[in-house]
């Protein structure tokens, strides 16, 4: 059974972005320019963070709007990019409700999570986890993009 990345508890996120560095490093790059996962403050760091990453939709809008079939359904949810077919039209980026399609400005291609779980391995605070696709996670039950409530 293929695995899928899940945001287990965005309230535990301290905003270190170590997940983003892990994603880029897995691709051989330093920095976070190539990261396919994003951590943003929820309107200032005092309000915590939102973690924005592909949730592996079963019927992904990004694939539906791809004019060249460059995005194929991945077994277990989400999509796989065929770079040779991609014309860099950005339809997928606009279609993703979560804003989880990141963009490679150099190659003009989308950068989409492949659910490898590297980011989760490095998360020091238990925000992310790789889970079997059939398991109904907290993330599946709610939304993958979780906003932490402000204050207490």
């Amino acid at each position: 059974m293929p695995n899928r990345l899940a945001v287990i508890d965005a309230d535990r996120c301290v905003g270190c972005q170590v997940c983003m560095f892990a994603c880029a490093r897995w691709q051989g790059a330093g920095g976070v320019g190539r990261s396919r996962i994003g951590v943003q403050s929820a309107g200032g760091m005092e309000h915590g963070f939102k973690v924005i990453v592909c949730r592996g939709c079963e019927d992904p809008p990004c694939a539906r709007v791809c004019p060249t079939d460059a995005l194929r359904l991945r077994k277990g949810g989400g999509v796989v990019l065929n770079e040779a077919r991609c014309i860099g039209c950005r339809n997928c980026q606009e279609a993703c409700t979560l804003g989880a399609v990141y963009w490679d400005d150099h190659d003009e291609k989308p950068m989409i999570c492949i659910h490898c779980g590297t980011c989760a391995e490095y998360c020091p605070h238990g925000v992310l986890a790789l889970e079997p696709f059939d398991k109904l996670t907290t993330a599946d039950a709610g939304a993958v993009v979780e906003e932490a409530p402000s204050g207490r």
């Binding site: 905003g15 560095f21 330093g30 309107g43 915590g48 204050g151």
Partner: protein
Amino acid sequence: MAADTLAKVLYIDLRRKTSERRPRPELFEPGLGGAQAAIRLLEEECPQGTDPLSPENPAILAVGPLTGLFPLASKTVAMFKSPLTGDLGESHAGGRSAVAIRHAGVGAIVIQGASDLPVYLVIDGAKVHFRDASAIWGMHRQSTSGSIIRARESGSGLRTIMRIGRAGERLVRYASVTTETYRHFGRMGLGAVWGSKKLKAILVTGRASIPVADKQRFQEVYDEIHRAAVQSELMKKYHDLGTAVNVSHLQQMGGLPAKNLLEQRYAGAEALFGERLAESYLGRRLACAHCPVACIHIAALRQLYEQEPYFYKTSMISYDYELLYALGTMLGVTDTEAYLRLTDAVEAQGLDAMSTGVVLAWATEALAKGLISTNETADVELKWGDCEAYARAVSLIVDQPNEFYTVLARGVRAAAEKYGGEDFALAFNRLEMAGYHTGSGAYANYITGARHSHLDSAGYSLDQKALKPGEHTPEKMAEALLKEEQWRQVLASLVVCFFARGIYQPDVVIRALSVAGHELTEADLDGLGRRILAAKHRFKEREGFRWDAYELPKRILEAPAPAGPVSETELRQTVEAFARMAGEAGRLTT
């Protein structure tokens, strides 16, 4: 391997509203940035005798070769001529500043000149935009101007927003630059330098990837550092209770500066213990970009609006040892919530908390002793523990409605020169002291450190280490302080957080630099550390710093310290030995 962009310097001219990127590889050779690049730029850009609040004073920001590559390489070094001390101004801050600058494709930023109108800068990769900041100039809370810029500009998640508050605008000599709400370029008055340039804020963002020499090796060295970071005991300390844990430690050993150092422990300090804050107020922990430790502790303070039942607000206020000392113990505070409200008032204005607390402590004692009266304080009755009075004084330091507050805004030494009380004006080279009354090591550190910061050479730590009798000779103390300060120049040039100094030992630094494409030996690093510190000393001496002309407030000699009173003779001998050794090291490196 694609070309690394670290060796590029972005020059921004605020008067002409122009910018230029210049390759400056020589500043970054043979593989360091940060403090090394910044001091070289300061030597180039700051003419001798420059008025720190004139357009000629450059404001420099620099990051290093490990920024964006390895965990805890999370700091930016700011360098400028200090309007508080009149010589070297250097301050380090994290947040997202370092990673953002690296991603913008530069290793350093030099701000030159002054603007006619208030401006904020947007540095977005290769582009620099000058934005009108008139509408946010004078805003009462620096965090509000931050959130306005946050909403108006793009780049969420990959950007830093460094800004000043009213204290910087109104040229308080110890005004800070705040980044990401809770981190500060504090101490030496960078905020006033920005204020003098009419520079309200700088937003930096970008997506430049950083090339590595060997991807496999990158992963291996990364894992080594990451594991050490998440498993080490030192890191656990910073992660769990944070630096606030020091309040109870110092209280216990009797090295806690309380009530302007009239006391070294006091009943009621328990209200400021890290343990107490964590139990009742810790609302969130935050991290700088690329730091798994998350040492930033935020208290959630729920407050009722007076005379309005059921109307509450919840403020998120950061706490750290240095703030608990300066705005807490130094002022004899015994009420946790009152302390938090005072901190919030200081943060809103963008003042350095440590200097502010020491200035207020001096003023409290000066008022009690009759050196000043309520005529000077504009009817504010300063007394130990009265945080409401202190908060009013904080506003007045920024507003400067009379001569007294104008002088307070220039620091505690300036105040004592005018009103007396120099024996209890706790500053070294005009910089208000840090929160360690641990012994002669701490004071030798304040006097000799290039920034006069406790973080220059950690004298407080030498004091606290169990040393054998006789090990504390002035010669040995001076040698230990100098060696530590020289090594920290290397860390500040990588740029690594000093909290991670236990992890970034020389062998680890060498391996990490190798991944970044720089092959250096331990001897190379030692030599670089010596050279960078010598360059700072040259700058200080050029601007009038003298090793034998330092103030020594009598209070520090009268107040009992954990290992007995601080001996003036021993302290002076330590400083003398340090100056001699630093001079020798300087001659060897020129």
